[in-house]
């Protein structure tokens, strides 16, 4: 029964192999696969899978995104500039970028601490807590938003203790920072954890045998190795926080010029059918986001290069 199939299949495979496998040297680094040249592999489905991928990307992602450019052209240059540099818009950028930065910085410090504790120490409930770190990814942002707003409101669980000592969180810019810290929490933890797990214990032993204390070993030996992961996590958290909407609007108070984030300003302009204004602000904001994506890729590229360089040097 199989012979028929085999007789059909084998020549077909050979037909698709104009170059013998061994004749083509593997391209430099990266993929470990035995693909041969552009597209050509013995495996079937290249046209189908790439075709479907490109079609879907074009229809669902690229064409809709390109409407942003299209709509911005409805504005004159002067009109565009007036929209994106209006005081209300400037205040919104400042709050979004500032609060995202502070949230990212808080997560850089505490994310490193949490990753360290989860990887290095044994304590009851460690695995459950490890799983819970991803909660901000899994919990719908609207739920996080109403929960945080209730906690930090004047009569909330924490708000009632903070307000008497003069710290108002809800309906203030500080509330935005709290929401953005929540939303960025998993990033630094998850980027640092694998680096800590793979950290060569011999390096620490060497530092200790040379007379370094634990703090010195951490600061001089381990921290430099961990910093690239921390900064990648920071940028990821920062980028996520910049665009965040759901968890912020409930706690922010949304006062123009004071506690109004950029995504909300875009939303308000859309609700007023000011499509051109909304797209202009979105365009400026997208430019910032894509610049960040570029930085992320640059960081991970540098980290990979450093890793492969140190492997090569051994």
């Amino acid at each position: 029964m199989n012979t028929l199939e085999e007789r059909d299949a084998v020549p077909a495979v050979e037909n698709r192999l104009p170059v013998p496998v061994a004749a083509v040297p593997p391209k430099n680094g990266g993929s470990r696969q035995r693909s041969l040249f552009s597209g050509g592999s013995v495996l079937p489905g290249f046209g189908l899978s790439l075709g479907f991928t490109l079609l879907y990307l074009t229809l669902i992602i690229l064409i809709p995104l390109s409407t942003i450019l299209l709509k911005t052209f409805d504005l004159t240059w002067a009109g565009f500039w007036a929209t994106v540099s209006a005081p209300r818009a400037l205040a919104a950028y400042r709050l979004s970028i500032g609060a995202s930065f502070i949230g990212g910085a808080i997560n850089a410090v505490f994310g490193l601490l949490v990753a360290w504790v989860l990887e290095r120490y044994e304590f009851p409930g460690r695995r459950i807590i490890d799983a819970l770190v991803d909660l901000p990814f899994a919990l719908p942002t609207a739920v996080a938003g109403i929960a945080l707003a209730s906690i930090y409101a004047g009569n909330g669980w924490l708000g009632r203790w903070l307000e008497p000592i003069g710290i108002k969180v809800a309906y203030q810019p500080l509330g935005v920072v709290v929401a953005l810290t929540f939303i960025g929490l998993p990033f630094v933890v998850r980027t640092v954890q694998p680096v800590l797990r793979d950290f060569d214990p011999e390096v620490e032993e060497a530092a200790a045998s040379l007379g370094a204390g634990r703090w010195q070993t951490f600061r001089r030996v381990m921290l430099p190795e961990l910093l690239p992961a921390v900064s990648t996590g920071f940028v990821l958290a920062f980028a996520r926080a910049l665009g965040e909407y759901g968890s912020v609007i409930f706690i922010a108070g949304n006062m123009p010029l004071r506690s109004e984030i950029t995504p909300l300003l875009i939303m308000i302009k859309l609700e007023q059918f000011d499509y051109a204004g909304a797209t202009a602000i979105a365009l400026v904001f997208l430019a910032v986001s894509f610049a960040l994506l570029f930085v992320i890729n640059l960081l991970s590229w540098r980290r990979n290069r450093k890793l492969s360089a140190s492997e090569g040097g051994d």
Partner: protein
């Protein structure tokens, strides 16, 4: 404090390199600080949702969940996920197959494009569909002439959800399939399996956990998406309100107990997602 490696090792012969650690007191201080941070940011919000939901009694809780508008929101949320998740599963499989099994020009650009929705604010993700299909959008007049409603209707919600969740399956599968290589597929083909058989019997079993992982994450995001859906929905109660939008409406109407009651459904979804995620990670790490 300059206790060297030898000294500690001598005291605890059973634990060679791990004995190189901090004093107990420092450990507990660090654990305490980390737990305090996580407690305030993760545990307190989680407990509060359930506390507030039940604050006015179990009867109010059930009433809020079984109310017709809430049930309509549940149905719409399930429908949205039932369309968006399978389509993005197919997309993820196709993209991962193309990227990991073949070599072609512009592959890095393609991977970056797949990640693009992550770099876009949810509000902007919804906005682009308004610009496309809205009354004043690019295709608006044509759609109006043919009496097709996309924005402020269910199709818009599904499209925005598809956009937001598009990278999730692909992202899990691409690195996994790249690390596995093509050898087993090539062997299957040489032994006479058809392309489809190879995919179904060789490739699919190898990636099943990664696939499940991606689907779980994709589903959680699809059911919980708020910003993008909020832009295209128009908030027509009972017709275009998904569960997160229903929570928002109730909260803004000061029906706090009802808002948190509906929010518990989404919170349970998040907890199930985290549990599945941990189970899959535990299975694959063995």
């Amino acid at each position: 404090m300059l206790a060297g490696n030898r000294l500690t090792e001598g005291r605890q012969p059973g634990r060679p390199s791990r004995s190189l650690t901090e004093p107990r007191l420092v450990q507990w201080l660090l654990i305490g600080a980390a737990m305090l941070f996580l407690g305030f940011f993760l545990l307190v919000p989680l407990l509060l949702v359930f506390y507030k939901a039940l604050a006015e009694g179990v009867a109010t809780y059930w009433a809020a969940i079984r109310e017709p508008m809430a049930l309509a929101a549940v149905r719409l949320t399930l429908l949205t996920a039932a369309i968006a998740v399978p389509i993005n599963l197919l997309f993820g499989l196709a993209a991962a197959w193309a990227v990991s099994k073949f070599r072609f020009r512009g592959k890095n650009l393609l991977v970056t494009l797949i990640d693009l929705p992550f770099a876009v604010s949810p509000v902007v993700s919804g906005m682009i569909y308004v610009l496309m299909f809205g009354a004043h959008g690019v295709l608006g007049p044509w759609l109006a002439a043919h009496d097709i409603k996309i924005i402020f209707a269910v199709p818009g919600i599904v499209l925005a959800t598809m956009f937001v969740t598009a990278p999730l399956v692909a992202r899990e599968l691409i690195p996994l399939m790249q690390s596995q290589g093509n050898d087993e597929e090539e062997a299957a083909l040489t032994l006479g399996a058809s392309g489809w058989q190879t995919f179904r019997k060789v490739s699919l079993p190898k990636i099943r956990w990664g696939l499940l992982y991606g689907v779980v994450l994709c589903n959680a995001r699809a059911m919980g998406e708020f910003g993008a859906v909020s832009v295209v929905s128009g908030h027509i109660r009972g017709l275009t309100t998904t569960l997160p939008l229903h929570v928002e409406i109730l909260y803004n109407e000061y029906q706090f107990a009802a808002a948190f009651a509906v929010a518990t459904l989404l919170t349970l979804l998040a907890l199930v997602t985290l549990t599945l995620k941990s189970l899959i990670e535990w299975r694959t790490s063995r």
